[in-house]
């Protein structure tokens, strides 16, 4: 356990010093700052104003950029160390593979989740300071969703990182995964349905398997379920599920997906040649 925490701590320190972490933090922190500067909190769209509107904007942008940020920054964690022979040296010390791998996962999770979460916290603090009403319900839901989505993509990234030998290949696969999942949110699903006359059950299943779509539908589920901007699949899902059940699913499912992929990644890491 001590070695696991040691690896996590060192990975965290190493990541915080890295250029990618600075850009990553600036992007999410900058988004919040930009929304404030642009006067998002002062505007009102479809009944939403103030911090609720800001959080809605933030989460909609996050749906697109958070997965790819997590994938490209994490996917080289194991494969990059393998490429550069860092793994060969670091694993010449008596650290179990379990401690090394899960220590890396744990350290990297804190690195990717904290800036996204802190950007929201800063928005809340600024909102309180300006005397705006704080939408705690939305804040906690989005915290849960971001935690869950971070877990899902971190798990997928570690799986890819363990599976492939070169970091370039790992990077290529992560882009592919992101594009496929992005394509399979509402609009592409509908195109599929129309072109191939697929059954609605299959379409909905595909939507529910996609952590990005689950995140998106849960994020907008607090709003009027008849909004046309949601897209037909989201509308269908929200019409079928109770809101509480779907929110619970949208937090539990991606988290489980992350744990499953990270565990599969560990099994691959343990079974394959290490360098």
């Amino acid at each position: 356990m001590n070695n696991l925490l040691l690896i996590a701590y060192l990975d965290l320190k190493e990541s915080i010093r890295a250029n990618w972490f600075m850009i990553y933090s600036l992007v999410f922190g900058g988004l919040i700052a930009l929304f404030f500067i642009a006067g998002i909190t002062e505007s009102q769209v479809m009944g939403f104003s103030g911090l609720s509107r800001l959080l809605l904007m933030y989460i909609q942008v996050t749906i697109i950029i958070l997965p790819i940020f997590i994938l490209i920054t994490t996917v080289r964690s194991i494969s990059g160390d393998r490429d550069s022979h860092i793994l060969e040296y670091m694993l010449s010390f008596p650290i179990s593979l379990k401690q090394y791998y899960w220590g890396k996962v744990f350290g990297r999770f804190i690195t990717v989740f904290l800036p996204v979460f802190m950007a929201m916290v800063i928005a809340m603090i600024y909102g309180v300071f300006k005397g705006t009403d704080v939408p705690w319900g939305i804040f906690f839901l989005y915290t849960g969703l971001l935690f869950s989505m971070s877990s899902a993509f971190l798990g997928i990234a570690f799986f890819i990182s363990s599976l492939v030998k070169s970091s370039e290949m790992a990077l290529g696969i992560s882009f592919f995964v992101w594009i496929v999942l992005l394509a399979f949110i509402d609009i592409a699903l509908i195109s599929l349905m129309l072109q191939n006359r697929m059954s609605e059950g299959l379409i909905i299943t595909l939507a529910l398997l996609n952590p990005m779509e689950v995140f998106r539908v849960a994020a907008i589920s607090l709003f009027d379920p008849e909004l046309t901007v949601m897209g037909p699949v989201a509308f269908y899902i929200l019409d079928r599920f109770s809101q509480g059940a779907f929110v619970a699913l949208s937090i539990i499912y991606p988290m489980m997906l992350g744990v499953i992929f990270a565990t599969l990644g560990y099994r691959v890491f343990r079974k394959k040649d290490l360098v």
Binding site: L6, E14, E88, F93, P94
Partner: protein, 212 residues
């Protein structure tokens, strides 16, 4: 101490190590030589438990280096040919070594001094930002401070100037008694004075094994 029985390693259709059998004993100081692609690094990686053998087996003090890697690696010091671009600072790397292996930090400092490496002004620098020679000196200091029964050096002096090489071989002579030292090298004249066994490899096989 290290028993290698009928050990082979394939990568796809390429045979890197071809039915190698050997025993390396306590007190052996072995020069492992051979052309590029002879299988030296593959053999070392199998000993360290990085590779799964295609056939045959490796035992270190009776233990499997893959299944009992922690027990094995407590007994082994390793210095790679090229220092890897570790992004940790020196103090973080030393903390990693000390906490994971129970190495005395003072002893690393002692061997660093002996290798003429001034660590104090560089402790907060990233390891990869040091010069090649400084990196190699630190890895050597760590390997000696670990006081392992088995010391594996893959071309350890590749980045060192002649003075630093002399320091390294002097320290090694003090440390290697009753231990097993394995040197991968292309320059036999450098290690001639400290080895008592020479193993030549070619195309994944042991072609000669001489006791000096």
């Amino acid at each position: 101490m290290i028993e290698i029985e009928d050990l082979s390693k394939r990568f796809g259709k390429t045979i890197s190590l071809d039915h190698v059998t050997m025993a390396l004993n306590q007190g052996d100081a072995v020069a492992l030589m051979g052309a590029n692609g002879a299988g030296k690094t593959t053999l070392i990686r199998l000993i360290l438990g990085y590779y799964h053998p295609s056939s045959g087996r490796v035992r270190i003090a009776g233990c499997d280096p893959i299944k009992e890697r922690i027990d094995i690696l407590k007994r082994v010091s390793f210095v790679p040919q090229l220092p890897p671009p570790i992004k940790l600072s020196l103090s973080e790397l030393i903390a990693y070594v000390c906490k994971s292996s129970g190495v005395d930090e003072g002893l690393i400092g002692h061997y660093a001094d002996e290798m003429k490496l001034d660590m104090a002004p560089n402790l907060h620098k990233s390891f990869f930002k040091l010069s090649g020679g400084m990196k190699q000196k630190l890895l050597i200091a760590i390997s000696l401070a670990k006081q392992s029964q088995i010391m594996i050096y893959d071309e350890p002096t590749a980045n060192l100037d002649p003075k630093a090489r002399d320091d390294f071989y002097r320290l090694l002579q003090d440390c290697e008694q009753d231990k097993l030292a394995l040197f991968v090298t292309h320059r036999i004249e450098e290690v001639e004075a400290i080895v008592n066994r020479k193993i030549y490899m070619d195309l994944g096989k042991v072609v000669s094994d001489e006791v000096c």
